[in-house]
């Protein structure tokens, strides 16, 4: 489980050569500014309104992706096709097609739509909604198909019509997973909306980038602290709801399994609510309806306040034909080098993120006071869009692949670390207690007692995350020498549509291959030993 951290060795070897002392003053200035963020009403005002736009984009993009994703999931579920029409090929076809929007990072969607549609608030929302909808569709349709078909078969045999039977048999067991995953996607949407802002699609990200570029650290921290507050609020709020509605945790390590009645009939890890009390069910239903009733008008209000015009998305501005487009110029790009450094970047970043999270937990195991500190660092890491970390690292390190990988790895470390911590806290580890009782030190006890039980699902999640990192490698193009991402920004600024198309195709292919590999790795890790 800690093995991926081996990548640390070459990185640590290279690091001293990369450090240049010049930026120490700037870094000190940056860290000091954390304690004295600017409280100028003007700055606060623009930060709050930027934050409002970012949250608005996240919420609207998330809601749109949820609706589209749900519809697409139903349309690409084999089980549904087979019970409605007796055939599964349309589901398979749709699944294949959905791989394409999914393989392109939301930033690329944003930049493309920006070219086609112009500076519209709807662009950022669509940029999030399109790839997310395809992701949600894939995950949900997998879940639908993984549900036991017994209940459905029983209902169908009893003469119930297909639609009713599907809702009855599949709805309730699907709901907890749906809600849990939906909550997770909302957290992702907030991060994506911030990132899109960094590339000029509006909101707080824009302000953060401009502040960093002009080294206005006090203003920068105003934005960062506010964003952190919103993110932590969202995360704890969602975790609270998840607990209240007894939904499975995201890593699903606790033994909550899918049974036709949802987790209530599973062997829950939290002592209460293992039996489905009608009262509980009713309460959850009422609260869900209430939440949706509040959410609907809120979204409409947000869309209006932001001046979102969904119809603007249909109003395409044709790309100007600038002539001179030739496939020779596309082929002339140094493809092997671009692809090679992109893959290397992904591998190093993935190794750092996956390996460091458990390693850091092990290191701090004996000191309880270090834990909140680590949690705060991880929260900041999650919150920071990788291009901003890259810019900041440049103040200390020389540009290049390692710097880019550190930026990307740091961001994902924040995400993985939190998941690991959550799962680890949930996991009942009698072995650890036994080991501790036997006088083994806290680190070893944690390692052998707790982590060994978690390793498979953690690594499985790490495999999925690496595939996300491959897609994300485009966003650290700023640091130079970072492969396809750098070239993409260059081609975009030359308005070289042909090169852009070539780069997109290669990116999509790489992501699809990566996705396939990480799927295989995960299945192997998750299959019973």
């Amino acid at each position: 489980m800690v093995a991926p951290a081996l990548v640390l060795i070459p990185v640590l070897v290279l690091l001293p050569g990369l450090v240049h002392g010049g930026g120490v003053d700037l870094l000190k200035e940056f860290l000091q500014a954390a304690f004295s963020p600017s409280l100028d009403p003007l700055v606060l005002g623009s930060t709050v309104s930027g934050l409002g736009i970012t949250v608005g984009i996240a919420l609207l993009g998330w809601a749109a992706s949820g609706l589209m994703g749900l519809a697409l999931a139903l349309a690409s579920s084999r089980q549904i096709w087979s019970s409605c029409c007796g055939q599964t090929w349309p589901a398979n076809l749709l699944r294949r097609l959905l791989a394409v929007p999914r393989s392109i990072h939301e930033l690329l969607w944003g930049l493309l739509l920006l070219q086609l549609i112009g500076l519209q608030p709807a662009v950022a929302i669509a940029a999030i909604a399109i790839p997310y909808a395809a992701l949600v569709a894939r995950v949900l349709s997998d879940q639908i198909d993984a549900l036991p078909s017994g209940a459905l078969a029983a209902l169908r045999c009893a003469g119930v019509a297909a639609p009713q039977a599907l809702v009855t048999a599949l709805g309730p067991p699907l709901l907890p997973g749906l809600l849990s995953y939906g909550g997770y996607r909302l957290e992702c949407a907030l991060r994506s909306a911030t990132l899109l802002g960094v590339f000029g699609l509006g909101g707080l990200g824009t302000e953060l980038k401009l502040c960093l570029q002009s080294l206005e650290f006090h203003e920068l921290w105003t934005g960062l602290w506010l964003l952190l507050a919103v993110m932590l609020l969202l995360e704890t709020g969602l975790a609270g709801l998840r607990r209240r509605w007894l939904m499975p945790r995201r890593l699903g390590l606790g033994g909550l399994t899918f049974t036709p009645l949802g987790p209530e009939s599973g062997t829950g890890t939290r002592g209460k609510g293992q039996t489905a009390l009608p009262d509980d069910l009713g309460r959850r239903g009422r609260e869900l309806v209430l939440a949706l009733v509040v959410l609907g008008p809120l979204l409409v209000w947000l869309a209006r306040a932001m001046g979102v015009q969904p119809l603007a998305l249909l109003h395409w501005q044709p790309l100007p034909n600038l002539g001179g487009s030739s496939w020779a110029s596309v082929l002339a790009l140094p493809w092997p080098q671009l692809v090679g450094s992109t893959l290397l970047l992904t591998l190093v970043a993935a190794g750092l993120a996956v390996g460091l999270a458990p390693l850091l937990l092990l290191v701090i195991a004996p000191w309880p006071w270090a834990r909140p500190l680590l949690q705060l660092t991880w929260a900041l890491a999650r919150l920071w869009p990788p291009p901003l970390s890259a810019l900041l690292l440049l103040l200390l390190l020389k540009p290049g692949l390692v710097t880019a990988a550190l930026a990307l790895g740091f961001h994902n470390l924040g995400i993985l670390g939190r998941l690991l911590l959550e799962a680890s806290d949930d996991y009942q580890a009698p072995a650890e207690i036994a080991l501790q009782g036997a006088g083994v030190g806290p680190r070893l006890a944690l390692f052998y007692g707790r982590f060994s039980g978690l390793a498979r699902s953690y690594l499985a999640y790490g495999a999925y995350r690496s595939d996300v990192m491959l897609r994300e490698s485009v966003v650290v193009g700023l640091v130079g020498a970072a492969g396809l991402g750098t070239q993409l920004l260059e081609s975009l600024s030359s308005f070289a549509w042909d090169q852009l198309l070539g780069l997109l195709v290669v990116y999509a292919l790489l992501t699809l291959v990566g996705e396939d590999l990480s799927d295989r790795a995960r299945l192997r890790l998750l299959s019973p030993a």
Partner: protein, 347 residues
């Protein structure tokens, strides 16, 4: 991808048995609740679906904005100005609202400033018609005109006729003053950064002079130069030592030296390029149709009438680093277009 732990957690067989042996009534009850949830869901989605499909239509909420058709009409009557973000946003946010206010006073039409975050976005926003009047650099201006035939070059500053770039170096890099273009070979093997990819003074012309001096982009350390994004960032990065050297717009360099952002002990100018035409104002082709006959001429006249004797206009001119603006023509930027094509930034 799939959601590990959800998609792949295999359902336990005894769960299956649980359903089969369940009495019928609880299932019915659950079904009724599920139906209630669905009904609630559809009720909620109904109003939210309405305004999306029909933006002008009735809504349960008081409209926060004017209805769309009217809104579009109004935005047609507003002159939206923009600029490439070549400097600190704080400075841009000080300068352009002043410009907007002054133009509004002179022309009698509402003027708003729309900030954009990078050079490419400014060009795109001009092409898609989201910006009416933009302060472009040499290269971005040519890109914008090629993408929007009929766009009009309106004015440039006195300093834009012969603008200069300054090559700067970290004092610890060992780089010395350079005499002429041949001296640029000293930069081979050094870590070097440009500004924005589309900057004329921070990338295009410097790259042209580097090529003249026999330096290819692949000659820099790491096989490629960096792109810091803006002139201010280039100065900060070279000063920090992240890059040994970089190149910036002369006007920004002077300002940084004056306000102390650039520390002479850490970063120094090593070469000043020959002059070339740079920044200029470009207007949309359809300004006369939208704002009335002769509007473009009036706009041009307003900009070139700014004088340091007027306190408002003096403030604007000072922030622009200019004495005054003068008429400009597309022909002045032929050289920029040629270099752009040579380097591949214009195709």
């Amino acid at each position: 991808m799939a959601w590990p732990g959800l998609g792949n957690s295999s359902p336990v067989p005894d769960g299956l048995q649980a359903t089969l042996t369940l009495p019928f009534t609880p299932l019915m009850a659950i079904r009724a609740r599920w139906a209630a949830v669905l009904a609630g869901l559809s009720l909620v989605l109904l109003p939210s679906a309405l305004p999306w499909g029909n933006p002008g239509g009735p809504s349960l909420l008081p409209p926060a904005r004017a209805e769309q058709p009217q809104g579009q009409e109004q935005s047609n009557k507003v002159l939206r100005i923009g600029a490439i973000p070549d400097q600190k946003p704080e400075k841009l946010n000080r300068l352009y609202p002043l410009v907007a206010a002054e133009l509004e006073r002179q022309l009698g039409v509402p003027v708003t400033y729309v900030p954009v975050v990078d050079y490419t976005a400014a060009v795109t926003a001009f092409r898609t018609g989201d910006l009416d009047l933009v302060w472009f650099g040499g290269l971005t201006g040519v890109q914008a005109r090629l993408q929007k035939p009929g766009a009009q070059v309106l004015a440039q500053r006195d300093i834009d006729v012969a603008f200069h770039s300054i090559f700067i170096a970290n004092t610890g890099s060992g780089l010395k003053q350079i005499r002429d273009v041949k001296g640029l070979t000293e930069l081979k093997g050094k870590r070097f950064t440009f500004g924005s990819e589309s900057s004329t003074s921070g990338r295009l012309m410097p790259q042209y002079f580097l090529a003249k001096g026999g330096v290819k982009l692949a000659d820099f350390a790491g096989g490629a130069p960096g792109f810091s994004g803006s002139h201010d960032t280039t100065i900060a990065l070279v000063q920090s030592g992240a890059y040994d050297a970089g190149v910036v717009n002369e006007q920004v360099w002077r300002t940084s030296l004056r306000d102390g952002r650039a520390n002479r002990a850490k970063v120094a100018a090593i070469w000043r390029t020959p002059g070339y035409p740079d920044y200029h104002w470009i207007g949309q082709p359809n300004l006369d149709q939208r704002f009335g006959k002769g509007f473009s001429r009036k706009l041009q006249g307003a900009i070139i009438s700014w004088r340091t004797t007027n306190p408002q206009q003096k403030q604007i001119l000072t922030l622009f680093g200019a004495q005054q603006f003068s008429k400009a023509t597309a022909a002045s930027y032929k050289q920029i277009e040629q270099v752009g094509r040579q380097i591949g930034k214009i195709r």
